[in-house]
Symmetry: C2
Amino acid sequence: MTTRKLGRGVAVVGAGMSQFGVFPAKATRDLFVEAFLDLRQSVDRGFDPQEIEALYIGNYSSELFEGQGHTAPIMADWLGLTPRPATRVEDACASSGVAFREGIIAVASGLYDVVLVGGTEKMNNLPIAQVTDALGTAADVLYEIPAGFTFPAFYAAMATAYMQRYGATPEALMRVGLKNHDNGALNPKAQFNASIADIMAQKQAAAARKGRPVPEWADEMAFLHDDRANPMIAWPLRLFDCSPVTDGATAVLIVSEEIARRFSDAPLYVIGSGQASDAALHGRSDLTTIGAARAASRQAYTMANVQPGDVKLAEVHDCFTIAEIIATEDLGFFAAGQGHAAAEEGLTARHGPQPINSSGGLKAKGHPVGASGTGQIVEIWKQMRNEAGARQLPRDVDLALTHNVGGTGQTCVVHVFERR
Amino acid sequence: MTTRKLGRGVAVVGAGMSQFGVFPAKATRDLFVEAFLDLRQSVDRGFDPQEIEALYIGNYSSELFEGQGHTAPIMADWLGLTPRPATRVEDACASSGVAFREGIIAVASGLYDVVLVGGTEKMNNLPIAQVTDALGTAADVLYEIPAGFTFPAFYAAMATAYMQRYGATPEALMRVGLKNHDNGALNPKAQFNASIADIMAQKQAAAARKGRPVPEWADEMAFLHDDRANPMIAWPLRLFDCSPVTDGATAVLIVSEEIARRFSDAPLYVIGSGQASDAALHGRSDLTTIGAARAASRQAYTMANVQPGDVKLAEVHDCFTIAEIIATEDLGFFAAGQGHAAAEEGLTARHGPQPINSSGGLKAKGHPVGASGTGQIVEIWKQMRNEAGARQLPRDVDLALTHNVGGTGQTCVVHVFERR
């Protein structure tokens, strides 16, 4: 397939998110309004919401999580934006990354100049076993789920294949979690606004409060090796290798390039977009890479005319720690089989040469599945505009990338952003 | 809102559908392959499926109906089309009409030249009460479903409001069902390939076979008034006022205008597209019209630069008979309050001046919800190319329209097609 250019340029002029966490008293629509109000604050020159011409809403499964389908018009109604076209886009955990791409395509088509892209998921209504079942519908329910697979098990299979081939250790995975919690500790919107050290201290304080024996750990790695503190979920993945179950919403405002400065003093230009599909995991020959990520990033790099080395920050889809390691290889930051060493050596840390997931990633920021793709763009927005506060990267971020995966990699969507 | 033109022209060069009906042994993917193979036959000059650059799949709720989410990449995989981008679009029963619009937008953007748009739904896996519940998620589950509403009840509320305001009778509704079954009797792919007279004869034969008393009816209207043959579902809507629960899939191939003749001797050009959203039914001031249909059709007519009177055939969203009557008014074929008389006078019959639903409509052809939007285009394709066989309209169809509604009208999408 050839990679073509879009008919006209598209820019991001605002991005916002709700608090990520567990919110029993809120519905998806409430979280989305919260995200939209945050977005409004982010538009430098302000704007009238009535300028919005269409909505694209990424949502994985409000049907299963809160019994509500047909969510896009509800979001339009809750913002007072009917009768504008409102379209829900679903590609599992890549839903809002793909919705963003649809928004870009729509602006590029000439049909709209101003489009709102949202992502939503309210996952904590169900008991955890039902959440696991709901997420399982993103795999192949005819061939995979009857074999006993859950999502931790799929990624555990990928992890064991990767470890076997490349000699990676569980410690490399743990380093990803440590780093992402370090970043999340500096992100006030994160579900886990806490480093692993913070979490250790919280657990000690809780034990003391309850009059129980106060656990002691030599260091974070000792904590992560403790089967009680960090139980095994699906070997080699432990609890802190898995992203949490999150309620949250995100929103991004995109406009045609030529009017971007009317909205923003520092718009982000979308210079690359790629999307690819793949067979479900059981149909793939190699579990140590996600082919759709390689294909999507190749498209995005070609459209943007940049190399992986040009990317100053990437928000990647770390639904499990192994997924981040594989992503850094699929995106070309490290050669195949070298991502685990890079993680262990701290190359992907906030102050490292190839920062990954400065937001805390899905691991610490949280993973409201349908909201995560546009959530990545919220972080890119802040970092590229030097508005990330305590977690602002030391190096100027003039080019950044988002990598959003659906399921076990049946979908991947990649975007490249430039600040001019 | 202004109505803008698309960046470049788009044409339909093929359309196909699976058999519509009840298929316990088939999964959605099987039905979609069947639709795609039918589409392949329809492309005059043939084509290599590998030319397809992206897939848009309309599906309402495979999650709820067959426990399978993330369906778009499965459809790509089943056709051998990975790693092409595969995106599921959901707007309840308007899902594939909106997917079609997304496909058009994507071609217009310049990103793709050849796009496959599909629609799928496999509804008969669940017991009927669960189907009703699943469909209910297309309404507002916070405000409407707890009040006891089901979809027949929503449309019954619209019907009673309409009858009260305009003096329409239940017989006008019955005339819609009669007409659509007359058309469906000539459509071999229809779930009900049978007129009401055929169904009466089937029931009589079945009774005789079982040695039961053979029912007699003076005519079709007597049958439709018989509480046993045509039971009340939600007054004034009886069984034959409601579309059935259907398994089916549909597929449409669209390409950029400039290459259309490479695929087809008689492509259909998409000259108008409109989409609109609205509040859920409880939030609307008028139950006798669907505002989103009025808004979407206005957009489509303006883009196409045509008038309602120019439309030679319309496939409209007759999920219930009242919906067809209201649609013919919302689309401007008849003035508000006159659609019921038009139906009674036969103006919308196949040989009438304003033919509606020559396919049999959702009522007789069947309503696999996510597949219905592109299913309408299959009929338009056949009629505009003079390939509709026994149900071919007497008058040449050089301009036609599709009208696809989601939920109670929270979404409507309208397209206008021209044969040149």
